[in-house]
Symmetry: D2
Subunit: 94 residues, 4 copies
Amino acid sequence: MSDVGGVAADQLRSLVERIERLSEEKKALADDIAEVYSQARSQGFDAKILRKVIARRKRDAAELQEEDAIFSLYLEALAFDKTPLGAAGRVAAE
Amino acid sequence: MSDVGGVAADQLRSLVERIERLSEEKKALADDIAEVYSQARSQGFDAKILRKVIARRKRDAAELQEEDAIFSLYLEALAFDKTPLGAAGRVAAE
Amino acid sequence: MSDVGGVAADQLRSLVERIERLSEEKKALADDIAEVYSQARSQGFDAKILRKVIARRKRDAAELQEEDAIFSLYLEALAFDKTPLGAAGRVAAE
Amino acid sequence: MSDVGGVAADQLRSLVERIERLSEEKKALADDIAEVYSQARSQGFDAKILRKVIARRKRDAAELQEEDAIFSLYLEALAFDKTPLGAAGRVAAE
DNA sequence: TCGCCTGATAGTTGCC
DNA sequence: GGCAACTATCAGGCGA
């Protein structure tokens, strides 16, 4: 019997080792990324801005359309800009 | 009519303002806490350890007995060292 | 002598209690905020979007101008769309 | 000339793409890890405890002795248990 | 109802 | 030593 204190030790060990292995690889990639940022900096780029660009591209890639529709609606309701008619038009389209 | 694009603007504005007000107070408290940590540091205390002490007290207040039991069990199953009983003792004592 | 094991116990206790007290108040405020979101939901608002609106207002309030200048520059360099001037305008407006 | 608005577009694009590529791989690994936790759960393991075990193994690998020493000291100073003399004895041993 | 997923928070680390 | 970014953990909402 492989149980130790009621725990299937072999299964547990396997799970732990897989997680630790994957975590190491993940850590290695994080280091690689840091290295690229380091290179960027040495080429004169601003790493902080670079991060923003990448974050922006990621957000842009994602689909925010439906959310944005409601979002805009709320913003407009708050008189976030001075053109509420734009909002009315979009609402009418619903 | 207070609706703007189908949204009850007044209600919305009220909600947003209440949340923002509460958030500011919350932020002020967070700053106060940071200030206390700062004082602690100037009195020679190690803020990192202090955080651990407080987190521990919080956890102790809650129930973590059962968790620890399973925890010890898992650690033993992994035969983390060659004196499993000693390990269990140390874990329980932590 | 108030030292216990070389630690000024009274000072430490005072610090810990102040932090715990402030943390409780902070927690109470967090609960208040959650309550407002709950009310919002019962009034038909989408809490998720509401959070986004508030986050957006917060970001807007902060100063992103200088960063945005470089940001736009980078975006244009990436030819993020085929109307770089339009892109720059949109970014600046964000 | 490859500059766009004073930015070396080719270099920038290369950097961005490398980072995005590495980030995707990193994300994939994070998903793999989540999958292992999922399997663990389906085998009856408590994922939360499992995380603690792994974190513990990681910390054990590192050095945390000194921290623990101060930590215990602080806890004792707070009279966390009802045997302060035991604490004094341990301190005297230092 | 349970597990997933996102957003919030706390802790850690590295830079300045 | 403070600050800011990143990571990890946690909780609450959401959907199957």
